[in-house]
Subunit: 484 residues, 2 copies
């Protein structure tokens, strides 16, 4: 249940979620609801985040297919039920959990789309118990993959025509590395070293040689020769085990020439330490002098989007960037602050107040509209409205917190972002491949003007509320404040 | 295969590692070794890290039991083999992988012990292919759990008698959250909200109510009453959904008094926003005035060790800290830089050189000795020696990089840290429970003097090399430098 491709290959999935993959309070609350017959109450929850990661101007939404697949298969297995019984949950509720299926409806932004704070990205409509029980799973999957797809996208933006490959599994946060590699592909990476991700998501896998391989021989040249003989079609030699310019590159050139004499071609060399700008220039020069201008240069070692940008600005002749830790952990933020908030119950809007106005939630069942320019590119504003409003009736969007600011959007082309992706617990369409999601993400990012993509003080993508939504929110605030 | 407790509860494990949970280059190199008959070569690899996380003075080693369990069960399943076949791996090597078992020997520091940079924490002795194939899995498990156990330990140090509970799953790095919760228990947490971790590791689970529960009612008081009726023995009321002092605490007090009249006791209230020092003092005062001095105060909201310390220094009357994001992602570092380096092949020592002397590896099969004071506490120095040296012969330890610095340790009590935990691919003893590991960690941390535990400029725990190890390393450096 971790692949969205069905069973490409036989065998057990890496991850098998069951109902106890959640916070205890979801089950505690669910039991109270159950004992009060509230499995018949219909609830709406919104998933959204409050702050863009990496001080950037956008995020890339990821994790949706994994969430839908997980929800279709979510069960409480015998071990879950036995443990919960020991924790004091009652027999009737456990019986309910034994037959638990998620049967709700989900509207969502398309996976891979660019998204912004405050407005709903995903809307869950289900009975109160089901909607509550899936909260932790949804947040766990969506927060992390969105963080990593966004990080990867930033690297893709600066890497030009260079190939980006994820090497992060060893420093990933445990099995989090699996979803990190998936999300990196959505954000624009071309491949991963993570073989299991290749198997499950049909992505290119790459990687050839570690320092230990070279150390495992008495002689670097012999190590390179053995490797080239065994892998003539995919030979990338790691040249910095002992001395990059003194031995690594000369030995690689010698093996490259020997391969030529056998009608083969050395694919590349890799630099994993030292001054990558200086060494890549020296390496390119020596390879070219030896007639090996087709040999590619790969680099790795603590790269991030800023280092990649800097290397390319220095005109370092690099073809492939291998990116590890800072990609797969989403450094330096390492978490997205996404939340899952109740918006209504039985069609009655609900709100969560807060001392800070920007943490007050938006009540009711909502739709998000993206304003488009004539050429289909993004105008720089999303409007949040009640789901039953007609888009052509939405004439103004109000600043969510500043009552003096508003924007006329009557004549704007408005694209609804939340589309139905699950109904009665089943996907409405077939699962999308990772490749299709990545292509969609590229297309959507292409519609986002450059000022929202820059790293330094990116332009603020506006959000506004429709008249009706604003009225509803303000009435609810007043109503709760009166009760104090 | 994710629990170290056997099958406490029936059902499938959350995570099921197979051979492709690795970087491609491990398999690429392994095939080259295989084609050259090097499955008969014996290799030794060391796991160690170079930098302490969180600018701290120590780390807590975690993940060992999961690694051993995973290695005992590591197989290439039919899906792995089918995928690798498509990737061009040869039939003979695939046949070898089909029967792959890890049959090596592992020496390790005890899980939960305090550890320091540079010196080996775990030593793998296996044939070259097996030792290489497990690298990524070992790093993936050990790096992350050590990071989180260390973070948790820092919180435990400042939390005094307060209870620490992990609430982090929703913001964790995907399934990384599972191991994060496990590691937090090793570092000194008393419980987790993560139900699956409770099921698999027999830990206390906790959590009662979210804001959505209160929002799900028209009236906060009714929400509290319903909850108290359904969970009279474990009722913690979340008091900040609308107005903490204005409605949340008064309503909680009212429900607390109603519970008293039924012979029950309100267990606690929780504050999740606002000024936690101010609000907890106000809450304590009002609860006490109402005769509810037994009601505990729990707090949450972006806590870390510095905030916990600050709250307790302000004498905030807090009983329970619920810690989320910053614990489970190991903020701000979010990764430990642990590596796995070749130390010898067929008893011949190996080295990896580097432009920076502190990245040069230590060659040969090694043991680490911890110097002890007369009372068994740690002296503040570990010595690294060759494994076949007798501890009483080790008279001096040399600074690893500064040839002018050394320390006489002839008469010190020396405790060997690397003990055999796996032989021929099987654990040498029975699996340790998480509770036993956590108790061991507490005991070991108790032997570490306070100056290594402080947050600001902690004292440096020394490391030194024995005469023989230093000689071996220096000879190898000279030998490779001559070759340039």
């Amino acid at each position: 249940m971790t692949t969205t491709l069905g069973n490409l290959y036989p065998g057990q999935s890496l991850i098998h979620f069951t109902g106890t993959y959640t916070d205890l309070y979801q089950l505690t609350m669910a039991q109270v609801y159950f004992l009060h017959g509230r499995q018949h109450d219909q609830a709406t929850f919104d998933y959204f985040f409050r702050q863009l990661p990496f001080e950037g101007g956008y995020a890339v939404f990821a994790g949706l297919e994994d969430l839908l697949e997980s929800l279709e298969n979510l069960r409480f297995d015998p071990g879950d039920l036995a443990f919960l019984r020991e924790q004091g949950f009652g027999a009737e509720f456990l019986h309910y959990l034994q037959d638990f299926r998620f049967t709700g409806t989900i509207y969502s932004v398309g996976e891979g789309d660019v998204v912004f704070p405050t407005r709903p990205i995903l809307r869950v409509e289900a009975n109160l118990i089901e909607a509550q029980i899936i909260e932790t799973l949804a947040l766990n999957i969506l927060n992390f993959q969105t963080l990593i797809a966004t990080k990867a996208s930033r690297m893709r933006l600066v890497a030009g025509d260079c190939t980006l490959v994820d090497f992060g599994l060893r420093r990933a946060q445990g099995v989090g590395g699996y979803y990190a590699s998936r999300a990196a592909m959505i954000g624009g990476f071309e491949g991963t070293s993570n073989v299991r991700v290749g198997r499950d998501f049909n992505t290119p896998v790459s990687g050839t040689m570690a320092h230990s391989f070279v150390q495992g021989y008495d002689d670097e040249l012999v190590a390179f020769r053995d490797f080239a003989e065994s892998r003539p079609d995919d030979c990338v030699l790691l040249v910095d085990t002992y001395n990059t310019l003194g031995s690594g590159i000369p030995n690689a050139i010698q093996v490259g020439k020997e391969m030529e004499s056998r009608g083969q071609r050395l694919k590349g060399i890799r630099l994993d330490s030292g001054d990558l700008a200086y060494l890549s220039k020296k390496a390119r020069q020596r390879l070219d002098e030896a007639g090996l201008n087709y040999v590619k240069i790969a680099v790795s070692n603590q790269l991030d989007e800023k280092l990649i940008k800097s290397l390319l600005q220095q005109e370092a002749p690099i073809d492939i960037f291998g990116v590890g830790t800072k990609l797969v952990i989403g450094y330096p933020d390492a978490a997205l602050d996404g939340v899952y908030k109740l918006a209504n119950i039985n069609e009655k809007p609900r709100i969560k107040l807060s001392e800070s106005i920007d943490k007050v939630t938006l009540p009711g069942k909502k739709q998000v509209y993206r304003m488009l320019n004539g050429d289909g590119s993004f105008m720089g504003a999303d409007a949040v409205a009640l789901a039953d409003e007609k888009s052509h009736d939405i004439a103004v969007m109000h600043h969510p917190f500043d009552p003096l600011k508003s924007m006329t959007i009557r004549d704007c082309k408005k694209e609804p972002l939340l589309l139905k992706v699950m109904e009665h617990g089943k996907r409405t369409g077939s699962a999308l491949t990772l490749q299709a999601i990545a292509a969609y993400s590229r297309q959507r990012l292409g519609k986002l003007p450059g000022e929202y993509k820059r790293f330094e003080n990116p332009h603020l993508y506006k959000v506004g509320l429709s008249d009706q939504l604003k009225l509803e929110r303000d009435q609810l605030i007043a109503q709760y404040q009166k009760r104090k």
